[in-house]
């Protein structure tokens, strides 16, 4: 049974729905990410779960109880804010101790727990500092300690790393994952950064316009996006519209114009007429290197850009433009004729 359940929840402002008939369930001990562009409703969902927002409709159940009308301060959820939201007039120690004092924990017990939590977030020795004397990464770790020390039933993260610089972001997300797994806490994590979400989550929900387009393990979403939106969001820039599809058992045989393709089947892959492939998965080669045939298109290089490790080409073919990345020493010239090979196990069908 899942720990948390949103059932047909709707949120609306001024007759405008931000979430409509939204459903989500989270297993105990899991870290689930809500991923999507700004305005997709991910933060709204998180704030709804935290209790900062009221649902217009629907039910929110937690641990088998109805939490829809439970006020924020009675929910025992930890919330980590994008802006850290530390109490500016309190020391690190008092910030972390705040929730425990409200719970009438004895001072010596508070001290033990605060100190232990500061150790866990690697901030031992910082307890008498004030927030303005901390760096962004330290502030965020105080915020995490403050949310964790109350032993929350659920931990909520609202883009906690987006104000940090790139290196720190990678370190912090490893930290967050480590702490979450060490303490076995159920967590919901909101971000617009797919790499961040994929790297720390048990499951990722890709959201768009107030609905979940796909909810699955990161590796599954990464390889087999279900919809065009998800595919685009995680970097499948190339799409082919097919006119015919035949089921050949372990693969689909597809046709667009005079061109024939095979696409390997995968569990859960929808049977549609739209193919998608990543620029990294397309194979580019000269006319001599790749022979014409199934899963091959011939085209002309239109634009070439240097990405550091590889070159990226936009290639114009009879089926439209395709983007391909290729590691090579000597780039193709603009206007040069090349061939593109679509490996059948990398070509996926999306809705």
């Amino acid at each position: 049974m899942s720990l948390l359940q949103l059932e047909n929840v709707s949120v609306a402002y001024d007759q405008q729905y931000i979430l409509k008939d939204f459903n989500l369930s989270v297993e105990k001990g899991h870290l689930i990410s809500l991923l999507g562009p700004s305005g997709c409703g991910k933060t709204t969902t998180l704030r709804l779960i935290a209790g900062f927002l009221d649902a217009t409709d629907g039910r929110f159940a937690f641990g088998g109880k109805d939490y829809t009308r439970v006020p924020i301060n009675k929910r025992n959820f930890g919330f980590v804010f994008q802006s850290y939201a530390l109490f500016p007039h309190m020391s690190v120690y008092d910030n972390v101790a705040f929730g425990l004092r409200l719970r009438k924990v004895k001072e010596d017990e508070i001290k033990k727990r605060v100190m232990r939590m500061l150790e866990i977030v690697s901030l031992g020795g910082f307890e008498s500092r004030f927030p303005q004397a901390l760096s962004g990464g330290q502030k965020q770790r105080v915020a995490i300690a403050r949310a964790l020390v109350i032993e929350p039933d659920l931990l909520l993260f609202d883009e906690p790393l987006s104000n940090l610089d790139a290196n720190l972001r990678v370190n912090m997300r490893v930290e967050i994952r480590r702490i979450q797994q060490e303490l076995g806490i159920t967590a919901i994590y909101v971000s617009h950064d797919q790499e961040e979400c994929f790297s720390i989550s048990d499951r990722v929900a890709v959201m768009n316009k107030g609905i979940i387009e796909q909810l699955d393990q990161p590796s599954v979403i990464f390889q087999y996006p279900k919809t065009e939106f998800v595919a685009r969001f995680i970097g499948f820039n190339n799409f082919i519209a097919f006119e015919e599809r035949e089921d050949e058992g372990s693969f689909y045989s597809l046709r667009s114009g005079d061109y024939h393709f095979h696409a390997a089947k995968a569990p859960g892959m929808p049977a549609t007429m739209k193919g998608a492939i990543r620029p990294d998965d397309l194979i580019a080669g000269t006319l001599a290197e790749i022979q014409p045939g199934d899963n091959v298109l011939t085209g002309k290089v239109k634009v070439s850009t240097y990405l550091g490790r590889s070159y990226q080409y936009v290639v114009v073919t009879p089926l439209g433009e395709f983007t391909v990345n290729k590691e090579m020493q000597q780039p193709y010239a603009n206007g040069q004729e090349i061939r593109l090979l679509f490996p059948s196990e990398k070509l996926v069908l999306v809705e």
Partner: protein
Amino acid sequence: MKNKNPGLSLFTFIVYLFLLGPLVIIAVTSFEPGTVLKFPPTGFSLKWYHNIFEVEMFMSTFKTSILVSLLGNVLAILLGIPAAYALNRASFRGKETLNAVFLSPLLIPGIVLGFTLLKYVVIAFHIPIYASLLIGHTVIMLPFIIRVIGASLAGFDFAVEEAAHSLGSSRLATFFKIVLPNIKSGIIASVLLAFLESFNNVDISLFMTGPGVSTLPIQMLTYVENYFDPTIAAISVLLMLITAGFMFLIERLLGLTYFTKQ
């Protein structure tokens, strides 16, 4: 720093002369030993400073002024903090209008405000003099309180408040434990500023005072109508010192740039 613009220097000098000149003249004449206000003074004496404390009316109206300003300040703070909080925190229809209403005593001429209060509030509801004085002063202090505390709240991250809620704090407790300590300096500054505004006020007090009840500035006006001795200069100097002291305190607490930021 070398000044390359003699025209600007001259202009600045003239502005300061007009601003500070009268104050200097008053300060100097307050030491006049004779019985008539004179510039330049004919000698040096502190007797008119002594005289302030001899005139019973100055002492009693000084007490009234202090009392009205302090009580009015308490009322204005009690009204102003929640108002400033609501205006900054919540979004609701008519917020801008409400903001304008709260700040209007700053924009409406004191004479108009005083007369209106007298005719449509004090006389209409038969309010006693002390109470009406208090109401009038609360009204003129309110914009200062709301404006300055509002500036404090504008720099306050309300996510901090949400953080306290999520940790189990009730709304009211959060306000006292988290919001108030963070706008403390704004509250102190607004109290000092409002006090000065109220203590030095003439136009509202003029309408709100009556037989037997007066404030110090009104008493000073009355005094000047009847006497022309340097007592009035001496008392002005004392009031200037009080004002300067308050401004010094505000500058120390916040810096005067605090008021020019927004």
